[in-house]
Symmetry: C2
Subunit: 466 residues, 2 copies
Amino acid sequence: MLDDYRAIVGEKYLLTGEGAARWTTDATGKIKATPLAVARPADTAEVAALVTAANAAGQAIVPAGGLTGLTGATAAEGALVISLDRMNAIREIRQDARSAVVEAGVVLTRLHEAVEDRGLSFPLTFGARGSCMVGGFLSTNAGGSNVLRYGNTRDLVLGIEAVLPSGEVLDLMTGLHKNNSGYDLRHLMIGAEGTLGIITAAVLKLVPKPRAHATAMLAPRDLGAALKILNAVQEDSGGAVEACEYMPGDYVENYAQMHPEHGMPFDTPQPVNVLMELGSTVPRDSTPGPDGEVPLVARFEAILGRFFEEGLLLDAVVAQSEAQRRVMWARREAAAEVAGTRSPRVTNDVAVEVDRMDEFITRADAVLARVDPGAGRSIVAHLGDGNIHYTVWPGSDDPLEHDRMVEAIEDIVVDMRGSFSAEHGIGIYKLNSMARRKNPAALGAMRAIKAALDPKGIMNPGKMLP
Amino acid sequence: MLDDYRAIVGEKYLLTGEGAARWTTDATGKIKATPLAVARPADTAEVAALVTAANAAGQAIVPAGGLTGLTGATAAEGALVISLDRMNAIREIRQDARSAVVEAGVVLTRLHEAVEDRGLSFPLTFGARGSCMVGGFLSTNAGGSNVLRYGNTRDLVLGIEAVLPSGEVLDLMTGLHKNNSGYDLRHLMIGAEGTLGIITAAVLKLVPKPRAHATAMLAPRDLGAALKILNAVQEDSGGAVEACEYMPGDYVENYAQMHPEHGMPFDTPQPVNVLMELGSTVPRDSTPGPDGEVPLVARFEAILGRFFEEGLLLDAVVAQSEAQRRVMWARREAAAEVAGTRSPRVTNDVAVEVDRMDEFITRADAVLARVDPGAGRSIVAHLGDGNIHYTVWPGSDDPLEHDRMVEAIEDIVVDMRGSFSAEHGIGIYKLNSMARRKNPAALGAMRAIKAALDPKGIMNPGKMLP
């Protein structure tokens, strides 16, 4: 079989042994696997030929991009890895239509830079942006910090091209905003973690690049107050809020100990610390007046003023420079670093309705105190979209105890009609959760769809579907 | 079998003969069908019981709502119609979470009114809003005039509940903004026209209700200029444009003849007539100054000013009162009336990329002149989302000639990577187009999914899938 794959991509681009070392693990370092081989196709036709050959042989395939997933979805023991990294052309940026036609191997930051040169923005952003690739973040339906304003990955995709498990090319490469011609297979492929096919290209939505930002650290009275403030700022700013990130008091204290040069966000420590950022494309919002005042910042300050009067807001610091803004973001983006100060760690990437985040945290903290009184935890949350990263530092090293803790937290999530995997996906690490928590009819429908499109089960087997 | 269905919903709610007359046709009047019976279940459990019984008997089911579809998707010859009209509760409106929990039988205008009382808005709107129901507009993935700002129906849905062809209840009733736990079955059910199951309830996204509107008729030099103006107004207003609707010169002339009291939009007739509307939630945008000037309107006028200087805009009238605004909208919303002045009619609901609408119209007009030199046509288009309603008044009464015309227009659409059904869906009227134009791999995948979830083919058979 290797000869067949080699004939398709060429000697140089079929890697085995040492050449394939990079694909034996991923960014989490938790995977240890030995792929059969790694093929690096040059175009969609080569991907289709590889899949057709693998299908005929019943050979398992694992599609791979930047290897930055957090759930082990690219683990490839004995599989043919199809790496999309050579298919990295930005084929077209359509200025007036505000769309970009890209191949699956384009790295997110490269796309950011290419469109920003045109005064546009592809607003998806998150920690792995320097390595993750289009095919990967589409297959994961990645989230990040700007979901509040611009939606998840799937909301930014107009068209896709994918190679189905049969080897057929699903050509949905249209830049359309309206298209009601059949089942929405685009949304089915997005977030399917490569189990239904390999995304090879996409047409992405672009937005105008903000000319001005206004960024602040806020100390609302509690999370209920934070949501009221968010909604009001959103309304009074005409929907300019791009991010609204929650960090509890212990998080900012831990961070200040690691980075004393950045200090604490407020003179008096606060239990609720919120990073809120507005972005505006309005020209006058970015033109400082004779007093040097930036209008967007002044307006943000004026909006915040009334919440002090109402007692919803206890403290606020609005960034007066790009340097101050960067410190605020550095604090938030250090989430993995802060959580990494202790080990072992049990991560929980959950989502609940935005008006019930406080309830979730209260209940999770209570469960934690009961299940493992010696445990600690670290929280950051996307307040605008209900996504809570609730990392537990368990008192015990016993994996069974850890799973018991995950189950206890899932009990709360399920009771609250939340999600046990908000933005990271399922991969292999969340298969247990999927088996015990997913609505049975949904799981049945997923299995039926998988069997219908991939009857031999060659496409990223053992992932997502328990 | 009727006794089984009767036992489930009760004597009163199983209709046959005269009682079922309403369901023998739809709002287009083109359908003539005799259903086996019409069941009007009270809740999801009754829907599930009906579907389970029908499945056991191999009985075809047609789900029905407000019967306002335009493609014959509720035609029900010999079928058990399951009408969702009694399941019409607005279960909950969550103010801070900005979501509404609704049943499938809720009429769109009732939802509009209910949420507007709370200062919120459900921004989906189109002509049939007074009759269409949640289950129907979700199953059609309805579009309308505000897609530009708020997206299609699917972009406004957080969660759904549906009864699958097996009778199982697919419970995805969550109000989450992030949820990466498996295939997105929500998006698969939305727009499936009832062929994969019956949507029984949904969690919908709400947005803050605009406090002020600014509405204008614009005469851009051409459609390219119109898009540049739209993009610039969008940017300079911070994304406040809610609608951008195109009417060619002959359309506004026809309308003026029918409604002389409303007159023409401009003193000098213009070839390109665009209705543009901004909506703002910013408080100061709606507070008139001492001179009575509304800030949003003044700002809109200021933004438009520079396009005159650049030669992109030839004329503009900004509405100075609600009455003027209503006339502008009445002209646009009379599209069906204007198209209805001649018959027969061949409708084409197509979409192309937003920067290629002019190209489509030029090519379609040329084809029309060639295929049927005696034909006329009427156009309205959603300039912000690329959707063109291109209605032909053919010179001939021969249906074969009409189909030839549709094919000729589809040739252009397919060549431009457009959609042959932008917002109306497929139903039965577009089955031919689907068979000859849909990407073969996509059609194959759709058929496989349909067979997997509905092996007996009982759910709205003969619709969408050729």
